[in-house]
Symmetry: C2
Subunit: 280 residues, 2 copies
């Protein structure tokens, strides 16, 4: 039985932990200093509280990191300082350059690095969620982490390749959702929403529903997407592609970040938040 440390049990991380646990591994988390909501998610997922990060690092053969992109390098630093010498799987939505930086950090501490990227919702139902992995130990980690509803898939090309798959994938899904909301916000702000929606009914019959579901599905999570859009922009720039699309998308999700908590906004609320009418 392999002991895996899961950092940290957020919405995605807790379900990844539960999936991996269902495959027969022991899964630890580090409860020290975490919120009551995180504790509840970890407990519901059947994860075992190791207490401190240091205790988790000592007890784990593998660490799987799942956290917001902006926190990924800092988390790797903390683990590296504790001289973690197992295999560190970074599953975060970061650019390949950030992934390789994280690899350097954990290797300095003595660990082996595997780059990862998760595509799909938190794995609850089979077939929805894939963990892409690249780097030297990717095959071994794929065998270990393919468990329950989670499928792990190896990407050739070394550290950074798995993150690139994630960046390219999300560049469309989250980038196009932001663009579509911006298009609607323009029409609403300029008073031509009805004409646009009528035209869509004729020539783009799926777009109105898609826009409303982009608002509904992303308003609570938008705050988390800002950092991811910045990582995607950096990925595009490093490949010689324009980084503007995802700078725009980051700005859209920034304006939606007000919906992190509180009641779900209406579609019209979201459009107004995106293009607030300034006093004439």
């Amino acid at each position: 039985m392999t002991t895996i440390g899961l950092l940290h049990p957020g919405e995605m991380g807790s379900m990844v932990g539960a999936a991996v646990r269902s495959g027969g591994s022991r899964v630890l988390w580090a409860g020290e200093g975490r919120s009551a909501a995180t504790r509840k998610r970890a407990t519901d997922a059947g994860l075992e509280d190791a207490g401190s990060l240091a205790a988790l690092v000592r007890a784990s053969e593998v660490i799987v990191a799942v956290c917001p992109p902006a926190a990924a390098a800092e988390l790797a630093e903390q683990v590296s300082k504790l001289r973690f010498a197992g295999t560190y799987v970074d599953g975060n939505a970061v650019s390949p350059a950030t992934a390789r930086e994280i690899g350097g950090i954990v290797e300095k501490g003595g660990a082996m690095f595997v780059d990862g990227g998760i595509i799909g919702p938190p794995p609850v139902k089979p077939g929805t969620t894939r963990l892409y992995l690249s780097g030297k130990s990717a095959e071994r980690m794929a065998a270990l982490l393919t468990a329950g509803p989670l499928a792990a898939i190896v990407v050739p090309g070394g550290p950074g390749a798995a993150s690139t798959v994630k960046m390219a994938y999300a560049s469309w899904t989250k980038g196009s959702a932001a663009l579509l909301l911006a298009s609607c916000a323009l029409a609403a702000a300029e008073g031509v929403e009805e004409s646009l929606v009528r035209e869509w009914k004729i020539s783009q019959p799926e777009l109105s529903a898609r826009a409303e579901s982009a608002a509904k599905g992303n308003s609570r999570k938008a705050w988390r997407f800002i950092g991811e859009m910045e990582e995607i922009a950096a990925t595009f720039a490093a490949a010689g592609l324009p980084d503007d699309f995802h700078k725009g998308a980051a700005e859209i999700y920034q304006r939606m970040a007000i919906y992190k908590e509180g009641p779900a906004p209406s579609f019209a609320d979201v459009l107004r938040a995106l293009a607030p009418r300034r006093p004439a």
Copy 2:
């Protein structure tokens, strides 16, 4: 019978002219100084050559302008200087601010201004193409220009409203096509295209075909889209929305502008043109 001047019979303009002619109007064009290709299109569409622009202006009660967005204001200036005193319909893909500027130009010369925006391909088959119109004489122009396969639709809100419908519509169609091609170009440039395409097969089964059709459908026309993306970016900025998406899209179409003439490129060619591998 109303005499309508059509400036100029490009791919879109010639078919708009033919549609309007099929409704019983006499449609003129100004052949002086135009290319053989334009003359062939105009002749095939059954348009009547008035000779010079001045002759067209003298003979026309209505002028319909259909040209690349960057040429729209200059064309209005030329018509205005010739003291055109009929109704000037600007059907170009310009921002509402540019449309109102064009309105001011032609009104100074004595004309009435109607703002317009065309959505759909050149009108050949019924039901594909709509000419949105706004401004004081929009109703009258809609009755005149709804003809054959072309449907004209009034947008409430005065000059600029019809252009805004066009901008909001194209912000998604052409903006998302550029974004999708950029996502593919990233995956190709970084060597993970196969993994991305496999993931798409599972979770976004329509995207590969959509990307290939975006490359195929837009490579010859990309040069024309650059100015339109710039007009959309300006429209977003004026509404307080991020203009980055369409600055990025303009850059993508700029890189595809090399395909204006010559043989149609392969999908792989287009992706390479978007993210050229630099020497290591």
